[in-house]
């Protein structure tokens, strides 16, 4: 009982703090200076139609590197945390049979999902979307495959290669920025040109970087899913 009162008091307290925060808010009619700069010059400096992508990949590329790292760290931790003992590796996950519908649909849908994912990350600089979104979409395909067949074996070797190479490529591109451009993760490589606005091959190396990010995210999430799937063997 006392505990409930305490919880209620906490929530009321936070209600008050958040109410104060809410009262700070006034609807904006103008962009902030920073946003104004991006909106004004983003298209020219970066060449991407999607301003959010320009910010994510270029202006705040260092954050994005951090994001990728977070996923990577989470995936790595889960890999060694949920690692199976040798004798468990060969176990078969016992579950009810999956429905015919799911199995058939997955066979049809998975290639489409993968394709869609690739499309999303490759066009991240033009349309809503990008590496994370595309990568997640790819991972949903993997999820679907696992749902359809709980004992489905994912080729982890490939996942690791994709993950590793795209990660190294991202960092390498960043270092190239130090050597050639104006600083770490300077993806425009001044002089390389930004391409024709609005087309796939525009916005400098954003599509390339975002593809790496997409592949890496897809691989990482798939890796996590794979570990989740396998860890059922230990229960």
């Amino acid at each position: 009982m006392l505990k409930n009162i305490l919880i209620a008091l906490v929530l009321i307290g936070f209600g008050v703090i958040f109410y104060d925060l809410f009262m700070v808010y006034e609807a904006k009619t103008e962009l902030t200076d920073l946003a104004h700069y991006y909106a004004k010059n983003g298209a020219n400096e970066i060449g991407g139609a999607n301003l959010v992508t320009s910010i994510v990949v270029t202006y705040r590329g260092f954050d994005t590197l951090g994001e990728v790292t977070i996923l990577f760290v989470a995936a790595s931790i889960i890999s060694f945390f949920l690692k199976l003992k040798e004798d468990e590796e060969e176990k078969v996950i016992g579950s009810k049979d999956t429905t015919e519908l799911l199995v058939t649909a997955s066979q049809v849908l998975v290639p489409l999902i993968f394709l869609f994912g690739v499309y999303v990350f490759m066009n991240g600089h033009l349309t809503p979307g990008g590496g994370f979104q595309g990568g997640s979409i790819i991972a949903t395909g993997v999820a679907l495959m696992i749902m359809a067949n709980p004992n489905f074996k994912i080729n982890t070797q490939i996942i690791h290669w994709i993950e590793s190479i795209s990660g190294v490529a991202f960092v390498f591109a960043g270092v190239l920025g130090v050597l050639l451009g104006g600083g770490f993760l300077d993806n425009t490589f001044k002089g390389l040109g930004v391409g024709e606005f609005g087309t796939l091959f525009s916005a400098g190396v954003i599509p390339i970087i975002y593809s790496f990010v997409g592949l890496k995210v897809g691989a990482e999430i798939s890796n996590i899913l794979n570990k989740y799937q396998k860890s059922q063997k230990s229960i």
């Binding site: 946003a35 270029t58 260092f62 954050d63 590197l65 977070i70 990577f72 760290v73 270092v175």
Partner: protein, 1041 residues
């Protein structure tokens, strides 16, 4: 210069690449991770070096080719380079330490570890608040991951609780950040510093949210249960990283946010810090689990650093010195201790005795413990000293009290732990296996600690005068510890003699007297050390450490030097005392009283600086603010060393249980350090405008009561060494009383007693100690009749007790005579009667030393004992010579003493006419008294010798028993329970009220902490509730609801 961005690039690049490279095996990836960490360390080191020596300037690193605020930038400045170097260095060493445990978990774990270290670097360097958030999350997740290196349910639930807590914290931080952006339109920290967020509507709230997150990352008390579980549940290697690197990074985050939070936050940061410091250490005293205790200590230390940060405006230019001094000491020492706890697999504190099976680890542990508590020569000592001084200078005395109280609590549990390690039973525990790669990082930390100690003392203008030569000599002796006793002993004696030769011309007469007691006395007692065989591990280094401290007090010109010496002496004597057989608890209580006393001194030195910083030791003669309090604190501090009643409970055990040649060191010599301190204080007080007469009056009563109770307790002792120990309490009571009179005669008495007590107590302790070595017991009733076997000892004890009891002809009488003159002149009749009565009591126990030990029946098992070792006899007889000289020609000593005291007390001197000393009350000639008594003695002795020539010599067994075999044979000894009747008369006075009082205090703290720490219920939800309540309460306090 390699740009710091390569720290990130290396960490991430190698981390990502390991996905492919893992097929080369875990050893390869492990080595690769170490190589990456080494390169990162190298980068931060070269920046540190460049920035520190001015060949580089603070440099911004831009990303994405745009200038901030449009892109994220990093800063590598001087502080950043230090923090980054600390993080990378501990990362590298920790990586070496944990090489096997990381390997066992595979390349994924190695990668997580690498990225953890990398991300903490970014936390330090980034100048973008959102980027800071991102990397804070990386750190949190990675920490939650590396906890799992230890495969147990405990570490798993600790990790989960940690994720829950950091999840809440990051929610708060994120809200703060986005609202900060909403208000200001920037995310760049430098922009925040430029504009004042507080002036925006709602800016205060936004700052509040960010500050809360930054503070909560530092695990403030009491919203830190998850942090404690983390320390306890994680692999010790990881705990070291959390305590060393993560805390450093988090502190840096707080520092960055404080830069734009506004000055009004300083106070609250300091407040939360001090609550954390005191609270954590309070709970620490009831911990039995090593790692959790270290966790409490870590959190407490970070709290202290928060206090420093909170006072950064007050401390001004000294802030970095104080902050980094404390931080570095904590960083190195705590990492070392956590790593040790990983090798010494002892969960319970008591099991740490196994560390004695690795003597060098014991040395390392001692180094770390003393560094944590802030003993010299470690950087934390200088930092704490400066911190306290600057705080009192600006009038923040309540803060000083809280800081010292917290430090005291921390000292209690760390020294208890150390005591277990040094003393408790260890035969049942198996020795641990030690891998080289685990012990090397610990050694590096310890060596770095010593290196920084030297560097710190050089970099501080106040401490540059400190004389490190004695310390270097101590270190040399430690290194040579493997040599046999006779070499080390000779070396020690030669070293001390040479040092005395160097120092004595620089000293005034008063200091010279004490220096002679300390150093010449030290040499004499060291001679007795030749009686020991083997290597006697550790003895010489710690004994010399004590003497180094003692001479440093004498030579001190500044309060810092004095305090430095005082703490060295305390440390050395602690080690000497704890060497005794059953002295674990006594050494601990000695240490606690000493530290308490030292903190009283520190506070007093601080108060003497109010309004100005003046480290000159003479400054205590010109205290303008709260002067009575300052003198009271100084006196209190010194009384802990003289063991005045109330503060004496450590002495009987400590002196009684110490080794035979250590007892005289700590009794005859060490106690005089307190006297010296009192002398300095009272001289200063006498010369100042302070209203000190009440203080002196109180001190006089205290001395009188001490004299009475010390002697009274001595009467009932069956243990010869404890008897002498209690007698010391009584004798020091006389000295304190005499000093308190604040007259010329009173002080003359005090000095006479100091010199006498040094000589006869050294004689008695050395002789009795030597006897104990022969007969193997302290209990007097187990001895008897030893006069036949040990005539040399008998004569020494006889002379010793004659001198001590103050009867003519020996020098004790000079003291007594002066004493009664002084008392009558002063008019303290009532106290004088108490003192007189105490003197009578002294006969009751002194008689027993001769009667019980040397007269009566020789015990069967002592039939073949030899006389005391010649090495003990030499110093004893030298001292007897000293007593004789003093007795025959007291004027040789008393006249110069009188001249020395005249500047302080110009009236009421002793007038000398050849050997006759006159006061207003009468006269006395030591020489004539001596000659008369000796002639009388010889006459009586001659008559007796002649008249008993034909007497029948009775053999021991020429007696008749009544045929009974006594149930307890010792009860038939004449000395057994000899004072039963007397006891009936005085028993109410012998109830150990003081000991009971201190027991009560201890229990109060122990039970209090034991009860309140239950808020750490171990439940993850409860911990989150603590965090949320912490935020709400702080909100009410700061924003005002």
């Amino acid at each position: 210069m390699v740009t710091p961005i390569y720290i990130v690039a290396t960490g991430l690049g190698v981390g990502f690449a390991i996905g492919i490279l893992k097929k080369f095996g875990k050893n390869f990836t492990g080595a690769l991770v170490l190589a990456a960490l080494a390169f990162m360390t190298f980068i931060s080191f070269q920046w540190f070096y460049g920035l520190h020596y001015g060949s580089e300037v603070a440099t911004y690193v831009y990303t994405a080719g745009f200038k901030p605020p449009f892109s994220i930038n990093l800063l590598m400045g001087q502080y950043e380079s230090i923090a980054s170097l600390m993080i990378n260095a501990i990362g590298l060493l920790g990586g070496i330490y944990m090489f096997n445990s990381l390997k066992a978990r595979g390349s994924d774990a190695q990668v997580v570890y690498l990225i953890l270290i990398m991300a903490m670097n970014v936390l330090v360097m980034t100048r973008d608040i959102f980027n800071l958030f991102v990397f804070l999350e990386i750190v949190s997740i990675a920490i939650a991951g590396v906890i799992l290196l230890e495969k147990s349910d405990r570490s798993m639930s600790a990790g989960f609780k940690y994720i829950l807590a950091s999840g809440i914290i990051s929610t708060i931080l994120l809200l703060g950040i986005v609202f900060a952006y909403y208000l200001t339109g920037t995310l760049n920290i430098d922009d925040f510093v430029g504009i004042s967020l507080n002036t925006y509507k709602g800016g205060g709230l936004v700052i509040f949210l960010m500050m809360m997150a930054a503070i909560l990352e530092l695990k403030p008390f009491p919203a830190n249960g998850w942090g404690l579980d983390l320390y306890e549940g994680a692999d010790p290697g990881i705990s070291a990283i959390i305590s060393g690197a993560s805390a450093t990074a988090s502190l840096f985050v707080l520092y960055k946010i404080m830069a734009f939070a506004g000055a009004e936050w300083n106070y609250y940061v300091a407040l939360i810090g001090i609550i954390t410091f005191v609270g954590s250490n309070f709970f620490g005293i009831v911990q039995e689990n090593t790692r959790r205790m270290l966790g409490y200590s870590s959190i407490g230390q970070i709290g202290l650093l928060m206090v420093v940060l909170g006072f950064k405006d007050v401390l001004g230019d000294s802030t970095p010195f104080i902050l980094f001094g404390l931080l570095i000491s904590h960083y190195l020492a705590k990492a070392g201790l956590f790593w040790l706890s990983g090798i010494i697999k002892a969960k319970d504190l008591k099991e740490w005795s196994v560390i004695r099976k690795h003597p060098y680890f014991l040395f390392l542990m001692g180094t770390f413990v003393f560094a944590l508590i802030g003993f010299p020569p470690f950087p934390s000592f200088f930092s704490k000293f400066n911190f306290v001084l600057l705080l009192t200078e600006t009038g923040n005395i309540a803060w000083v009290i809280a800081i010292l109280a917290g430090s005291m609590l921390e000292a209690i549990y760390l020294f208890r732990w150390f005591g277990y390690a040094v003393k408790s039973e260890n035969s049942h525990i198996e020795k641990n296996k030690v891998c080289l790669h685990k012990s090397i990082p610990i050694w590096i930390m310890a060596l770095a600690l010593y290196g920084f100690s030297y560097y710190t003392s050089l970099s501080n203008p106040w401490s540059i005068a400190i004389n490190f030569i004695p310390l270097a000599f101590v270190a040399l002796l430690f290194v040579l510890d493997f040599l046999p006793v006779y070499i080390k002993n000779s070396l020690s004696i030669l070293g001390m003699a040479y040092y005395f030769y160097l120092v004595y011309p620089q000293l005034d007469n008063m200091r010279l007297i004490f220096e002679v007691i300390f150093i010449v006395g030290g040499i004499l007692t060291l001679i007795a050390g030749f009686a020991y065989k083997g290597t006697r591990p550790g003895f010489h280094a710690v004994a010399l450490l004590m003497f180094a401290g003692l001479t440093a007090i004498i030579e001190a010109k500044t309060t810092l030097e004095f305090f430095f010496g005082w703490e060295l002496m305390t440390a050395g004597s602690y080690f000497l005392i704890i060497r005794g057989k059953r002295s674990m608890t006594h050494a601990l209580s000695y240490m606690m009283f000493s530290i308490g006393g030292a903190y009283a001194l520190l506070a007093a030195f601080g108060i003497s600086n109010v309004g100005q910083i003046n480290l000159d030791l003479n400054q205590i003669g010109h205290i303008s603010y709260l002067s009575t309090w300052a003198y009271a604190l100084l006196i209190l501090g010194f009384l802990t060393k003289t063991a005045s009643v109330g503060l004496h409970i450590w002495l009987p055990g400590a002196h009684g249980e110490a080794e035979s040649d250590v007892s005289p060191m700590v009794s005859a010599i060490l106690l005089k350090a307190g006297v010296f301190g009192l002398v300095l204080t009272l001289i200063a007080m006498n010369g100042s405008d302070s209203q000190w007469s009440n203080l002196a009056y109180a001190l006089g009563w205290l001395g009188a009561i001490t004299a009475l109770s010390g002697n009274l307790m001595a009467v009932f002792q069956e243990d010869a060494k404890r008897l002498l120990a209690y007698s010391s309490i009584g004798q020091l009571g006389y000295i304190v009383f005499a000093l308190a009179m604040m007259t010329h005669l009173g002080w003359l008495t005090a000095f006479t007693y100091s010199i006498n007590h040094f000589m006869y107590k050294a004689i008695l302790f050395l002789t009795i100690g030597a006897v104990v070595l022969r007969v193997g017991t302290h209990d007097m009733y187990k001895m008897g009749g030893l006069i036949a076997r040990m005539p040399m000892a008998f004569i020494a004890v006889l002379i010793g007790i004659i001198a001590l009891s103050g009867v003519p002809p020996l020098s004790g009488f000079a003291g007594k005579w002066l004493f009664y003159n002084a008392v009558m002149e002063k008019g303290w009749y009532f106290q004088g009667i108490i003192i007189f009565f105490s003197g009578g009591l002294a006969f009751l126990y002194l008689w027993r030393l001769i009667h019980t030990i040397f007269l009566g029946q020789l015990k069967d098992n002592h039939r073949n004992v030899k006389d005391i070792s010649i090495w003990f006899a030499i110093p004893v007889y030298i001292l007897i010579g000293g007593i004789m000289v003093f007795s025959v020609r007291p004027d040789w000593v008393l006249q110069p003493l009188g001249n020395m005291l005249s500047p302080f007390f110009p009236t009421g001197q002793l007038n000398w006419d050849h050997s006759y000393a006159y006061t207003t009350l009468g006269y006395w000639s030591g020489t004539n008294v001596f000659i008369t008594i000796v002639i009388l003695f010889l006459i009586v002795f001659g008559i007796l010798a002649l008249s008993t020539r034909k007497a029948h010599k009775l053999k021991q067994f020429d007696i008749t028993y009544s045929g009974e075999k006594p149930f307890r044979p010792e009860t038939t000894h004449v000395a057994w329970n000899v004072f039963a009747g007397f006891y009936k008369a005085v028993w109410p006075a012998t109830i150990p009220l003081v000991a009971k009082f201190w027991d009560y205090v201890t229990d109060f703290f122990h039970d209090g902490a034991g009860f309140t720490r239950r808020i750490y219920s171990g439940n993850g939800q409860a911990y989150m509730m603590h965090i949320l309540y912490f935020i709400i309460i702080t909100y009410i306090v700061i924003i005002g609801g």
